[in-house]
C-alpha cells in the first residue's frame, strides 16, 4: 500500500509514472481524502498561477514596448 508521502511525491512529480504506480496512486486517492485534497490543490494552483502571470503580462502597454524598441534600435 502506497503511503501518503509517496503519493504526493507522485502527484507533483514531472516524470511519467509507471503504470503499476499509477494504478496504486489511483487506488490510494479513492480512499484517502487528504491526498485527494492535495491533488486538487495542485491542480487549482497551476491554473491560478498561470492566470495571474498572464494577467500581469497583459497589462503591458503597447506604447511602452514601442518606446523600448526605439531606444534599443537607437543604441544599435
Amino acid at each position: 500500500m502506497l503511503s501518503c508521502k509517496k503519493a504526493i511525491t507522485l502527484i507533483s512529480s514531472e516524470e511519467k509514472i509507471r503504470w503499476y504506480l499509477w494504478l496504486e496512486l489511483k487506488l490510494h486517492l479513492m480512499i484517502c481524502y487528504s491526498c485527494r485534497a492535495y491533488s486538487k490543490q495542485i491542480h487549482f494552483l497551476k491554473r491560478s498561477i498561470r492566470k495571474l502571470i498572464q494577467d500581469r503580462a497583459s497589462t503591458a502597454d503597447k506604447n511602452k514596448i514601442n518606446s523600448i524598441e526605439e531606444e534599443v534600435i537607437r543604441k544599435l
Binding site: S3, K6, T9, S34, K46, I53, R56, L76
Partner: protein, 192 residues
Amino acid sequence: MLQDEIILIQKLKNKDRKSLEQVVRLYTGHLYKACLGLGFSEQEADDVTQSVWITFFEVIIKFEGRSTVRTYLFGILYKKASEFRKKNKKTVATENIEDVLDQHFDEKGHWILSHSPVSPDRFLESCQTLEIISKCLDYLPLNQKTAFFLKEVEEEMTETICKILDVSVNHLGVLLFRAKNQLRECIDGKSR
C-alpha cells in the same frame, strides 16, 4: 532548426542592420511581458529588457546556433533577471521545502491530522484572492518561478527550458517539484 533561422543568425552576426531591427521588433514585447509576469515593475522590466538586448548584441558573434534566437534571448533574460534580483533584494532564506514536507507526515508516511491539506474549496477561494496568490508567487526563488513560468505559461518543451535555465532534466524536475510544493504550502497556510 529552420533554414530561415540559420540565415537570420548569420545576418545578425554580420551586424546586418535590418535583421537586428527585425529581431528587436519581434521579441521586445515578449521579453518585457515575461518580466512583468515574473513580478518585475514596469520600470524594472524596462531596465531588464534593455540590458538583455545590450548583452545579446555583445555576444551574438559567439552564438553557436545550438538554440533558436528566442531561446537564446530567454536564457539571457533569466541571467539578467537573477543579477537584478541579487543586486536589489536580499533573498529571504526560506526553509527547505523537502524538510517542510517531511514535517507533514508521521513515521509511517501518513498525513499528521493538523497538517493535512485544507479543503479544496477553501484553497480555491485563496487562489482567487489576488493578494494571496501574488504574494505566494513572489516568495518563490527566481529559478523556480522561471521554471514554472516556462513550463506552465509558455508551455515550452523540457529541452528548451533546460537550455534557458542551464540545468539538467533532473534538476528541472526538482525545481518544478519545489515550485509547486512551495506555492501549495504558502496558499494552504494562508487559507487556515
